[in-house]
Structures are given as C-alpha cells and as structure tokens.
C-alpha cells in the first residue's frame, strides 16, 4: 500500500528556532494517528508540514498528490456570515459553483447536527458548535485525510464528546474507505479512544512511534523512550 505522507529526516526551522528535527515518518491510508507531546514539542508544526502549510528546511517531505486533505485548527476561523456560507466557502474555494456549494453545505450541516443554526452568524455559535461547523467544512470537501490540531482543547466535556463522536464517525468513512485521521491532542483518553497509532514528540524530535496498545500498555514505550514513558505517567496521574 502506498504511503499518504512520508517524511525523511525532515527539519523545520523558523529563524533560530528548530520546530522539528530529523523526523522520519510514514503514514498509510486509513491510519488513525495521534500526536502527543507537551506544548512546543512540534505537534502543530508536524501537522502543518503534513498539510503543506510549511515546507521542510532540511530532509524531505512527500505527499501523495492525489490525496485530498483538510485541516482543522484549535480555534476555527469563521467568517462574519452564516454557518451555511462558512461551509459553502470551502467548496467554493475548491472550485464548486456557489449555488451547488450552498446545497452541499446544508447537507453537511445536517450531518453534524447544525441544520437548525444554518442561517445564524457563525460567530454567534458556541465553541463546540463552531468546531462541529469546522468539521462540516472539512468533511464536505470529502478529504482522504483529516488533520486536526487539538480540536477539542478549548471545549467543555459535552462538546468534546460530540466532536470526538464526529471524528470517529468521519474516520470510519463509508463503503470500506476509512478516512485517515491525524490529530494532535493532550487528552490521553481521547487518544486511547480514537487512535490506532501514537507518535510522541519532544523538542521537535519524534521519540516514539507505536501502536496505541503498545504505547499505553506493556514495557515497549519505556524501552523506546523513557521521556515518553514519563510523559504518559505524568499525564495519567
């Protein structure tokens, strides 16, 4: 199976700051990859690199050109217009006619349970609703891979569950075509529930890359990275 994303000794530097250093990574279709690490560890930069929002300053980065991908941010930016128009915007930018885009936007809003606020100014929606709206905006593009940068970080528990459920639903996909999910998170429970593979980053270095079971259970994590083991232990207490 060909890889969706491939990084070889990838570095990303912003001036004097090294955000990523020597990252080797291959992600295949259908994987659910969680990025763990403390603030400033390079999770967001890795997501941006995979999405093409920044370029490696060293090493190599390769993305399958045929892969459609969408990215969600911790605080989604909504234009000062209706929820429906915000979703339609993504389609319009992708080349769809505005009328068709609005019709598809309505279906996407229905999918995330926001039909009742379709005509409301998107900025009047709650944080959880805005994140679901952002998910609709991403999902409507029918991406093969969805990248999410701490999508539930600023949400209350109820909104968190709703967004998580949608992530899970989208990742399952349909017709045996699961969507690749790559998300950064601080929430270990969420990682356990959603991920099949966990990457641990520290100071821009990828220290651990394990299946989710091996990451949280058994001795392998400690063998691979003492730092990652301590992080998980610290976060669990």
């Amino acid at each position: 199976m060909s890889a969706l994303f491939e990084l070889q000794a990838a570095d990303v530097r912003f001036g004097q700051v090294t955000a990523l250093k020597g990252v080797n990574l291959t992600i295949h279709p259908g994987e659910r990859v969680a990025l763990l690490g403390s603030n400033g560890s390079g999770k967001s930069t890795l997501l941006r690199l995979l999405h093409g929002l920044c370029m490696p300053t060293g090493g190599a980065s390769r993305r399958d050109a045929a892969v459609h991908q969408a990215m969600l941010f911790q605080r989604p930016y909504m234009l000062r217009t209706s929820a429906r128009n915000n979703v339609a915007l993504g389609l319009w930018l992708a080349g769809q006619a505005w009328g068709e885009a609005r019709m598809r936007a309505e279906r996407a809003l229905e999918r995330v349970g926001l039909s009742h606020v379709a005509l409301r100014n998107a900025r009047t929606l709650s944080g959880g609703q805005q994140q679901r709206l952002a998910l609709a905006r991403a999902w409507v593009l029918q991406p093969d891979a969805l990248l999410l940068d701490e999508p539930t970080a600023s949400l209350d528990p109820h909104a968190k569950r709703e967004v998580e459920a949608l992530m899970d639903e989208f990742a399952r996909g349909h017709n045996a075509n699961p969507m690749t999910l790559i998300f950064a998170s601080h929430n270990l429970g969420q990682v356990k529930r959603l991920a099949s593979r966990v990457l641990y980053l520290e100071q821009g270095r990828l220290l651990a890359d394990l299946p989710v079971n091996d990451f949280f259970n058994g001795p392998r994590l400690k063998e691979v990275s003492e730092a990652a083991h301590l992080f998980v232990k610290g976060e669990s207490t």
Binding site: M71, F73, R80, R123, T124, S126, Q129, A159
Partner: protein
C-alpha cells in the same frame, strides 16, 4: 472680539438662510471629496488588502514608501498633479487642469496612501492570526485578502470615513490644481482662505463652521460605528457563551 461675534452672527445668518453661494461651495466640496474617496477606496482597499497578505521581495520597501506617502503635504500632491496635468505635462492633452476632475484626482492621490496603509494594517493583523486557515482551504493571496477585507468591513468603514475627513479638510492640493475659480472650482477650504484674505470674514467663518460641522458629523459617525461594532462583538460573545452553556 466684536469683529468675531459680528462675523459669527452674520455667518450663522448665512447658514440659516441657505445662502446660495454658500450652498454651492459646500455642495461642490462634498462632491469633489466624495468622488475622490470613492476612487481612492476602490483602488486602496484592494491594494491595501493585497499588501496585507502578499509576501514578495521588496515588500518592506513598498511599505516604507507607502508609510512615507502618508506624511506628504497636500501642496506637494497638488504640485505633482499640477505638473502632470499642465499643458506641457504628460497628461496635459486631457485639458483637466483647473477643473473638478483635477481636484478629484489631487484629493484621490492624497487619500490613496491613507486608505491603502490603514487597510493593509487591518488585513495583515487578521491574516497573521487566521490567514493560515483560509490558506488551508485553498485560498490564494488575492482571494484571501479580499475575504479578510470583507470580513473586516466594519473596521474598514472607519478607514473610509477618516479618508473622507482628510480629503474634505485639505486646502493645498485643490488650491493648486483647481485654481479656486468662483462658481467652478471653489470649495470650502479654498473659499475660506480667499475670503479671509479679502476680509470677508462672515462668509469665511460660515464655511469654517460648516467644515467643522462636517468633520464633527464624520467623527460622530466613526464613534457610532465603533460603538456599534463593540456592541455587535459583545453580543456575539454573549451569544457564544450562552450557546455553550
């Protein structure tokens, strides 16, 4: 003091009686400045928004020039436009010197840097925080700049009003390129300068009061727009908080 009070009283009488000379000067002033602002905003909003988003070699130099143009005296703008439109100038064939059009061009040139620089700042601030998200949706620099400018439309409304205030209150440029011809290119500021030098203080004072009134109304309008924006943003936050509760 008595000269001032007498002049002020006569000025108020002129205003109250809708003096036709006064009204024609005020009407011309408003028309020139409104047209100049419309032209400058048409170009400046797009250019400023694009400069707020685009990254290219030499951008810092362009911004330095733009910021320098903010401080150019209106007489210098008038002089440059005069040289361009004068019979021997490159645009002399148009025959626009000492006309309404010449004044519009001069004022448009004067406020264009203001509109461009302020728009650039407003759009760049939002681009820094949210531009990446629009980029991730596939919006290129031009589309992104237009979307962000549209999203910041209430902030840009203040820019438009401020530029109109700058245009209507300037005297140097319109004096040079308009020539202050009675009934043809005489506007409020040039009329004030002329009437004061002639000693017709009531008319000058009446025009001064109206000019002051216009600027006052603009400032009040800016304040109302700002307050309204704050109220809208406040209600958005309350609504968002309520919705999340």
């Amino acid at each position: 003091m008595s000269t001032f009070t007498e002049s002020a009283a006569t000025a108020l009488q002129l205003i109250a009686s809708f003096d036709p000379v006064l009204l024609s000067i005020v009407g011309r002033s408003m028309a020139v400045s409104a047209t100049a602002c419309a032209l400058a905003c048409g170009v400046g909003l797009v250019l400023g928004a694009w400069l707020g988003v685009a990254r290219f070699r030499g951008r810092l130099g362009v911004l330095a020039v733009l910021n320098t143009l903010l401080a150019v005296p209106s007489v210098v703008v008038g002089l440059v436009v005069y040289l361009l439109l004068s019979r021997s100038g490159p645009l002399g064939f148009l025959g626009w010197l000492f006309s309404f059009k010449a004044m519009v061009i001069a004022q448009a040139c004067l406020v264009l840097p203001v509109v461009t620089a302020l728009t650039r700042q407003a759009v760049e601030d939002v681009e820094r925080v949210h531009g990446e998200q629009l980029r991730s949706l596939g919006a290129g620099p031009l589309l992104r700049s237009l979307l962000l400018a549209w999203d910041e439309r209430y902030a840009l409304l203040t820019v438009l009003i401020a530029s109109f205030g700058r245009a209507i209150s300037e005297v140097g440029a319109v004096m040079i390129v308009g020539g202050n011809i009675d009934g043809f290119t005489r506007v409020m500021t040039t009329a004030i300068a002329l009437e004061t030098s002639k000693g017709d203080l009531p008319l000058a004072l009446a025009l001064g009061l109206i000019l002051l009134g216009v600027v006052l109304v603009l400032n009040a309008f800016i304040a109302v727009v700002r307050r309204w924006r704050e109220d809208v943003q406040g209600s958005l936050l309350v609504a968002a908080g309520g919705a999340s509760a």
